[in-house]
Amino acid sequence: MLDPQIILAGVLNGLLAGGIYVLVAVGLTLIYGVLHIINFAHGSLLMLAMYAVFFLWKLSGVDPYVALPIVTAGAFAIGFVLYRGVIGRWSHGKDENILLITLGVSIIADNGALLFFGGDTETIDVPYAGKIIELGAAFLPLPKVISCAAAIAICLGLGLFMARSDTGKAIRAVAKERQGARLVGIDVEHIFAVSYGIGIACLGAAACLLMPTFYVTPQSGYAFVLVAFTTVVLGGMGSFVGAAVGGFLIGITESIGGLLLGEQLGQIGISLIFILILLLRPTGLFGARA
């Protein structure tokens, strides 16, 4: 039997990893909630954002944390323009078209990255990468503590924005009642683009928080997007709170699974949760019944 101290350390590390999952999943669930589509480009756009962080550091020495506002704002702009110029324009108002277009965007992004950046694994060297905070038996890497705290802060900020601002309220209104939204003068297409932009901005922030401890290759997005899909399904499609709870649960599952079964096999826990949720509670923990 494992020492409870080690289990506790595993839980803490899982929570820290979960912060990023929450951020990626919140972006995915927001886009799903408003546009009613799974954003297949999610992983690829995260990967592109990670390259952006990498090149900012490599070419002009910008620290990933300093880059956060720039990359987040840039990601929002790219998401907004991508929706306005490509997804919204070519979908002709059909949800299934949006699905296919995001899949196409992801294929182009992945292969474009392979073509221009090559298939090598790129990493960033920052002085604080190896710093550890000791907490009882738990050794917590400083960058992960920072990333988790920042991810939580960003999600809280976003939650506040959604609850209080007119734009946030309009996003929630459009998610459920597009016709009613048009009749109060909400520009629904604009709100779609803003929502997509915010979803992608979450990825920009996640990329900055990830890069100090992670690597980027053209395939980097996949690992996260699979976790994000599981998180969103676990929490309930379109639910913010669900994405937050789901992200941390997945983080802990992965970490404890890794402790018990080893790093590689530990991932099996995530797939197991996915299957169990689909079997037992397809609407997820916080999902509304269809």
Partner: protein, 233 residues
């Protein structure tokens, strides 16, 4: 105030409105009557910019709004309270009302919130509740309240009495009369012929996509054809 001329509209290849003329003057209640499928909602939705008409013109407050986007039409002060209410079910009553002033009337938001609560004290009791949990009558109040938040110059009410109990229907028509007495121009789209004619100044009867009858409400109430088709005597 609102002037519709030769409006032709429909969905896809199907023409539902085949040249409709209609006008609402300042301070008037005009009733638009007709049975199910006569084209009442099609008219509304084309006037409000949800669909583009096939032909004809729509003028509001002196400017041409034919085929304009709903954002611009709301901005001009033409607000529709739609059939089926179309409130935002997951948002609180308060947030629903505040979004009523998303495009227009934002500076008057606090004042108008107080005004709507004065008209519908019931909404204050449900203030933080998700709108989807309200009863049908309360949802109708919320939909009208949300419409008023946009400081409309002309309010289009699409079947406000639909699905309400007889007592609430009475209240609803009384309320519409009071709103109009307060200076608001209203286009009342209804199937409820008797009560609509009782409060309206003028009325149009839509049949098969054209205006079959029109005139002062008092005269139409006595019209033998109308009595025969809608009242059965």
């Amino acid at each position: 105030m609102l002037e519709v001329k030769g409006l032709r509209a429909g969905y896809g290849a199907i023409e539902i409105l085949r040249g409709v003329d209609l006008a609402v003057g300042t301070g008037e209640i005009v009733a638009l009557l007709g049975s199910n499928g006569a084209g009442k909602s099609t008219l509304n939705n084309n006037v409000c910019g949800l669909y583009r008409p096939f032909g004809g013109t729509v003028r509001f407050g002196g400017s041409d709004i034919t085929g304009a986007r709903s954002t611009r039409i709301v901005e001009a002060g033409l607000v529709q309270v739609p059939e089926g209410r179309r409130i935002f079910p997951t948002l609180s009553v308060r947030d629903n009302l505040e979004l009523g002033s998303y495009r227009r009337g934002r500076s008057g938001r606090q004042k108008n919130l107080a005004h709507v609560v004065e008209i519908f004290p019931r909404l204050k009791e449900r203030w933080t509740q998700p709108a989807g949990t309200l009863s049908g009558g309360e949802q109708q109040m919320l939909a009208i309240g949300r419409g008023l938040m946009g400081e409309p110059k002309l309010l289009i009410l699409d079947e406000p009495s639909l699905g309400l109990s007889p007592l609430l229907v009475e209240e609803m028509f009384a309320l519409i009369g009071r709103l109009n007495a307060g200076g608001l121009s209203i286009l009342l789209v209804e199937q409820n012929v008797v009560q609509s004619l009782a409060i309206a100044h003028r009325a149009y009867v839509l049949e098969g996509g054209v205006v079959a009858l029109s005139g002062p409400a008092r005269e139409l109430a006595e019209h033998p054809g109308l009595r025969k088709s809608y009242l059965g005597h």
